[in-house]
Symmetry: C2
Subunit: 207 residues, 2 copies
C-alpha cells in the first residue's frame, strides 16, 4: 500500500471517529483497526496523535468550506440567493444522520483550553467562514455588519441543530438572514415603503 493511500485511509478513519466520538475518546489502536493501516505506518506518517488531530482538522477545514462554496456556486444565481443558499446547505448537513455539530466548535470545547494548535485551527476556520459570509453579504449589497450578523445566525444554527438533534434551526436562521438582508438592502434596490402587508410577505419568504 502506497503512503498516499495509507495517509488517506488514516485521515478518513480519523475523521469519522474523532467527529463521532470526540478526539480523546478515540485511541490510536481504534484508528488502526478502522483504517487497516498498521500502527507502525501510522506513526511514520503522523509522528504523534497531535499531528493526526491537526491534519484531521485542517483537511476538514478546507473540504467543508469547499463543499459549501461549491453548493453556493451551483445552486444559486443572484447574490441574495447565493447568501441564502448557505442555509440550505446547512440544513442538508444538519439532516445527515451522522451530523454532530461543528467539528471545530467541538474540538475547541474539548481541547481549546489545553492545546493552542487546536484553538488556532478552530479560530482560523471560523475566521475564514465568517469572512466568506461577509463577502457573500457584501456582494448582495449589504453592509459589513449585516454579514457579521448573518454569520452569528449560521453559527447559532449549527450548535442548536447539534444539541437539539433537529435541522429546524437552519430554516429559522435563513428566515432571519433574509429579513436582515432585505431590511439592509431595500433602500438600495427598491425604496418602496414597507407596510403591514409587506411585513407578512417578507416573513413568508423563507426557503
Amino acid at each position: 500500500m502506497h503512503a498516499d493511500l495509507a495517509r488517506e485511509r488514516i485521515l478518513d478513519a480519523a475523521e469519522d471517529l474523532f467527529y463521532a466520538r470526540g478526539i480523546q475518546a478515540v485511541g490510536m489502536d481504534v484508528i488502526r483497526d478502522a483504517s487497516g493501516v498498521t500502527l507502525r505506518r501510522l506513526y511514520q506518517l503522523f509522528p504523534s496523535k497531535g499531528d493526526l488531530v491537526e491534519a484531521y482538522l485542517t483537511r476538514r477545514d478546507t473540504r467543508w468550506l469547499q463543499s459549501l462554496a461549491t453548493h453556493v456556486d451551483t445552486a444559486a444565481e443572484t447574490p441574495q440567493e447565493r447568501l441564502l443558499a448557505v442555509f440550505d446547505w446547512l440544513e442538508d448537513w444538519f439532516a445527515q444522520p451522522d451530523f454532530h455539530g461543528c467539528a471545530f466548535v467541538n474540538s475547541f470545547g474539548e481541547l481549546g483550553g489545553t492545546s493552542p494548535q487546536v484553538a488556532a485551527v478552530a479560530r482560523h476556520h471560523k475566521d475564514t467562514f465568517h469572512a466568506y459570509l461577509r463577502e457573500l453579504a457584501a456582494a448582495a449589497g449589504a453592509a459589513a455588519d449585516t454579514g457579521t450578523q448573518i454569520a452569528l445566525l449560521a453559527e447559532g444554527a449549527m450548535t442548536t441543530a447539534a444539541i437539539s438533534g433537529t435541522p429546524a434551526a437552519a430554516r429559522q436562521a435563513k428566515q432571519a438572514a433574509q429579513l436582515l438582508l432585505t431590511l439592509d438592502t431595500r433602500h438600495v434596490n427598491t425604496d418602496l415603503p414597507l407596510a403591514a402587508g409587506s411585513d407578512r410577505r417578507l416573513r413568508r419568504a423563507g426557503r
Copy 2:
C-alpha cells in the same frame, strides 16, 4: 468539615477546572488538591466522576439562568429592553477573563457523543434558555419565530466570542436582535411606513 461545605468546595473546584480545561483533562486528584477535600470524602459525596460532572453541569445550568434572569429583571424596564438586556449580560460575560464559551456546548462537544447524560443536560439547558428567550420575545410582542431567531443570535454570539476571543459578537447580536424585534413588532406598535431615513435610525440604535 461538614458534608455540605465539602460538597460546595468540590463543586466550586470542579466548575473552575472543568470549565477552564475541559472535563477529561481534569483528574479527580486535581479536584482534590484544588478543593482541599480528601479523595475519600470526594467519592463519598460523588460516587463516580460521572456523577460529579452531572452535578457540575446541573448546578451551572440553574445558576447561569438565574444570573441572567436577575440581570434582566433589574436592568431593564420595558419588555423590549428586557429582551435586549440579555445581550448586555452576554457581553459582560464574554469580557470576563475566564470566559471560555458555553459550558454546555463545550461538554456536549467533548462527551455528547459518548455520554447520554451529558447530552441530556446540555439539551435541557438549551431548551430552557431558548424557551426563556421566546418568553421575553412574546412579552415584547414578537412572533414565536422571532424569539427562536433571537435565540440563534445569542447562541452564535457565544461560540463566536469564545473562539475569536473577543466580546464583540454580543454587540452585533444585539443589533440584529433589535432589528428583528423592531421589524416584527412595528406593525403592532406604530404602523409608520419605514423610509430610508428611519432605516438609518434603526441601525444606530444598538446599545
